[in-house]
Symmetry: C2
Subunit: 204 residues, 2 copies
């Protein structure tokens, strides 16, 4: 089969061009590495196409992806300076979110996650970005902090042409069902199994 | 178990710091998406840490990763201009390789792949880069164009502190055995199954 030729043509009354340009909901899940890294790699491609990129990190942890953040924010700056690529916003759930005026109640992760999702919903409605990375967003769904039906319905009805990629382990079956592209990253072998720790340039 | 704590401490007479800084051989394999994208995402992190990044694309195809190439080369340029990050070289096996003076014998992919590997070997010996992406390098190994024992031995004996990531389907068992970190990307669901084609900002 020639590369890029679909296996079947769906009965959806869309032209190939319309299908080609359908905005995608993507999920990178599984216990292996590369879920977020691949999502940020896609954001890079989007930036290069002039997409407005929005990253939302939903888990407070040491895994802040400082390298990707630094580079993507630098690319966003480059866009402001030279017009190359697209603008980039990177938001993380630290003590509250950066757009929020209140300092955040240090320990109410559930409320912070819900506030993050409410903001993403607003932005989807307003078509603020072209490419959303909802990093580790599977967890607040798993933990019941964000309602999966609301998530799936919001994604299904998002206006315009907004791509969304969700990362994290154990993606909810309803999210998998709703997604266009789902990839599972599986660990075959990991250096931490052999006593190694994370290192500069590899883990961060 | 606290995050980042090894399961076992190997009996290798290395200190934790030595182990932590051991250069890694990584393989992203499997039939799913994200193998190369995750590798380029790692290259991004490496760039941010000032690593000298070298990308070598081993398969002649339409999948040229133009987005990642444009952005990584732009970052390399930024390094020349401002000193940020590290230098980036991106080589692809078109009609021969960019470093080669001869135009390349348009159809001898096997010879071109072998020439590419010979160059990577030279660079590993000379410690030209800190982070190598050998994109789709599993294929010339599978096809016997590059000797897997030579590859494994070269990686095992590479001097200094050079990270290598190899991408592609069906990684050779000897390569998997030799690697420190192996991740398999599995397709759970793909829009092409539903008749969609690749699109701007997503596939390239």
């Amino acid at each position: 089969m020639p590369q890029g030729v679909p296996l079947t043509v769906p009965d959806d009354n869309l032209t190939t061009k319309q299908r080609r340009n359908r905005p995608l909901l993507m999920v990178n899940t599984g216990d292996g590495k590369g879920k977020s890294t691949a999502a940020f790699g896609m954001a890079l491609r989007g930036w290069n196409q002039g997409f407005k990129v929005g990253v939302f990190q939903f888990v407070k942890s040491a895994k802040w992806r400082v390298g990707e953040q630094a580079v993507l924010e630098r690319l966003g700056e480059l866009h402001s300076q030279t017009g190359e690529g697209g603008p980039v916003e990177w938001h993380k759930m630290g003590s509250g979110w950066s757009w929020s005026r209140k300092a955040g109640t240090a320990d109410d992760h559930a409320a912070d996650a819900a506030a993050g999702w409410a903001e993403v919903k607003r932005r989807l409605a307003e078509q603020t970005h072209d490419f959303y990375v909802l990093d580790e967003f599977t967890y607040p769904i798993s933990w019941g902090w964000v309602d999966v039906d609301d998530v799936v319905e919001t994604f299904a009805n998002r206006p315009g042409h907004q791509h969304v990629v969700v990362t994290g382990r154990r993606a909810h079956p309803k999210l998998v069902e709703a997604a266009d592209l789902v990839t599972e990253m599986t660990k075959i072998k990991h250096p931490m199994d052999a006593g190694q720790k994370g290192q500069r340039g590899i883990e961060w």
